[in-house]
């Protein structure tokens, strides 16, 4: 008897944690999502009426924002991957004695606040920053074109902010690759590109999957970059959730949050199935 119960007892703290910080909030969120305002009540009075239409209405009102969030997050993830892969590769194989210093540099942006770094980009890309005036002088952008308040600024902001989440898992998995496998590939007359395609890339897939997930998931729910670098036509689902929360319209907020979670979950499950890696999850 004692033997059987021991593992369950050991699991108790974990279960208690999950119950308190995951199950309770989710249940509460689910309850609120089907509530409706009390007729004749004040602004913060809601009652449970199991109105599942809340979901449909919230979705129809914000489908544009859902679409935009997924597309922006995918593009940001792709850009981060394209920047991070060569970076992580160089860190793992070419950095020699500077490896630790360079790793610290990758993490260094985290020493300042996420918000401050995003505000800094707003200044850099602003009309009187050091990017716009030279481009304008060269005639590359017109007098009326601006770099902030655009989709490009939002996507780049996210790619920048989540870059370390992409670089570190990639580095961890590339670093584990035995250099002798690359030499063996060369000995078998594979050129550099073939070696990369047949050896390095497959062996680093766990890093690619982990990195893309760690970038995509927070990016899809992000609202800071859209708030600071975007304009009214670049708002994401996170901005809608925040604004509805403040009205306050808790049912819509909860329904949107649930749908965002579901959308991300579906995308992630499909992705992991396709990528076919057991190592990550």
């Amino acid at each position: 008897m004692k033997k059987i119960s021991t593992p369950y007892l050991l699991l108790l703290p974990g279960f208690a944690f999950l119950l308190t910080f995951f199950v309770f909030p989710i249940v509460s969120l689910a309850q609120v999502s089907t509530a409706t305002p009390v007729s004749g009540g004040d602004i913060d009075d809601f009652e449970q009426t199991f109105r599942f239409r809340n979901y449909l209405e919230a979705f129809l009102d914000s489908r544009e924002h859902f679409g935009r969030s997924i597309i922006y997050a995918l593009l940001a993830t792709l850009i981060a991957l394209l920047i991070s892969y060569p970076l992580a590769y160089a860190l793992a194989f070419k950095s020699g004695k500077y490896k630790n210093v360079l790793l610290v540099l990758v993490v260094a942006p985290f020493f300042t606040s996420f918000l401050l770094r995003t505000v800094a980009w707003k200044q850099i890309l602003g009309e009187e920053g050091f990017v716009v005036p030279p481009l304008r002088a060269l005639g590359l952008i017109s007098e009326s074109t601006t770099l902030t308040s655009t989709a490009g600024a939002v996507i780049l902001g996210m790619a920048y902010n989540f870059l370390p989440f992409m670089t570190l898992p990639l580095y961890a998995s590339i670093d584990r690759i035995d250099p002798r496998t690359l030499e063996a590939s060369g000995d078998l007359y594979a050129n550099g590109f073939t070696t990369f395609r047949k050896v390095t890339l497959p062996l680093s897939m766990p890093g690619v999957v982990a990195g893309t997930l760690l970038t995509f998931i927070p990016a899809a729910g992000d609202y800071v970059n859209a708030e600071l670098l975007g304009g009214p036509n670049n708002t994401m689902i996170g901005n809608v959730i925040q604004s509805r929360f403040l009205i306050p319209d808790y049912p819509t907020t909860s329904a949107l949050s649930f749908m965002l979670m579901a959308a991300i979950l579906i995308i992630v499950v499909v992705y992991i199935r396709k990528a076919g890696t057991d190592e990550v999850v």
Binding site: I43, D44, L115, E127, E128, P232, N233
Partner: protein
């Protein structure tokens, strides 16, 4: 059009006040989003004489909007509040963390509902939010015998619909909503809605996220009376805004941050607030200007209120503080710093002594002619408040 003294004509004292304010704003811009709670603490400077309350002194906690109380940069304290604390032997704590009406309400609402201490004895919501607090019963009723100066409130502010006898709220400052612009980029100025949406401004216009100001100004350009505005009229103005947003005319629907966009050149014409524009105008020596729209602007107020979670002792002290700031001399000192419309009768005469130029400022003491062109948005029912806000947010892209 609102006139303000040319910056060269400003007295040295006023310039010092302005400069200290602007440099503080710069610090804030750098730390945007990270609201710092400023507390009255003693400083190290030898010339500073900052009051330090004895340990047994009662505490009074006041949550207010940023840059909304006279501040001495050198000694890092709030002179008028310091004097008040000294006279009443109080440990006054001042928090500049009221950044947004909805956000602040969201933060304290749950505790208010449960009648738990929210951490403030005085809060400063804008009229429409003050109306909500009063309606929900979240405020203490003033004991007017503690506020003999209450009679000094301007007649125009004395009986708002949400608090007809001013028993729950006293105006802290009045805010005019109108047009602001960059005089280099928009030399002709902005006086009508057509001026604002002139083709040259396309993509460089920012409007306020405070719907009563932005939609209010659009409505007034159509001759609508804000005291009787109907849902159809409101929604039609919202549609106009929505069209302008989706056609790329408007680069942002923002709160105070529109001032940063003007400074950085990202915005050249805005719907903005008088006090902010006054600072920009003076700091950049005429690079920016402000005008009340010809068809009429908006006026609103932020209100000192005592949450019903405050203790009896804190309530009495909060009433003393309200009384203190309704003393014309003190009100003038505050106005010289914040440059919003002062709600206190007699402050203009007191301002003559501090700075005669500011005493004629339309930003602080609008003339009757200006006041006649400003109007207040009517109170909304809870249902209207939700559905109108939602429509406005959708038009703003969120």
């Amino acid at each position: 059009m609102a006139k303000s003294p040319k910056s060269s004509a400003l007295s040295q004292e006023a310039r010092a006040i302005l400069n200290s304010k602007v440099s503080r704003r710069g610090v804030f811009a750098g730390a945007a989003g990270i609201a710092g709670a400023s507390m009255l603490t003693a400083c190290g400077g030898s010339s500073c004489d900052v009051y330090k309350a004895p340990a047994e002194a009662a505490t009074l906690r006041w949550g207010n909007w940023p840059l909304y109380l006279d501040y001495d940069e050198e000694c890092a304290y709030y002179p008028t509040l310091d004097k008040f604390s000294r006279e009443n032997i109080l440990n006054s704590q001042y928090f500049e963390d009221y950044n947004d009406n909805d956000e602040f309400f969201g933060k304290v609402q749950a505790q208010l509902k449960l009648k738990q201490d929210i951490g403030y004895d005085i809060v400063t919501p804008t009229d429409w939010m003050a109306a909500r607090w009063i309606r929900l019963g979240y405020t203490h009723k003033f004991d007017k015998t503690n506020i003999p100066n209450a009679g000094n409130i301007l007649d125009t502010l004395a009986s708002p619909s949400f608090d007809p006898t001013r028993e729950h709220s006293m105006t802290w400052q009045g805010i005019m909503g109108g047009f602001g612009w960059n005089t280099e980029k928009v030399p002709g100025g902005v006086r009508t809605l057509d001026d604002l949406f002139a083709p040259a401004n396309k993509g460089k216009i920012v409007v306020l996220s405070e719907m009563r100001d932005t939609i209010g100004i659009i409505l007034r350009s159509r001759g609508v009376d804000l005291q009787t505005v109907t849902e159809d009229q409101f929604m039609s103005a919202v549609e106009f805004l929505e069209q302008k947003v989706s056609d790329g005319w408007i680069r942002g629907v923002k709160g105070n941050e529109y001032a940063e966009d003007l400074k950085s050149g990202d915005a050249i014409a805005v719907i903005g607030w008088s006090g902010d524009m006054f600072i920009l105008k003076n700091d950049y020596e005429g690079k920016f200007d402000f005008a009340i729209p010809e068809s009429g602007g908006t006026i609103s107020g932020d209100n000192l209120m005592i949450p019903y979670t405050a203790t009896a002792e804190a309530k009495a002290n909060a009433e003393k503080l309200i009384n203190w700031y309704y003393d014309p001399a003190i009100a003038a000192e505050v106005a010289a710093y914040v440059n919003y419309v002062t709600p206190v009768k007699g402050a203009q005469a007191e301002m003559e002594k501090i700075d005669p130029d500011l005493a004629t400022s339309e930003f602080i003491f609008p003339t009757e002619k200006t006041m006649a062109n400003l109007s207040v948005f009517r109170s909304l029912t809870p249902t209207e408040e939700t559905s109108w806000s939602e429509a406005f947010l959708k038009a703003s892209g969120i």
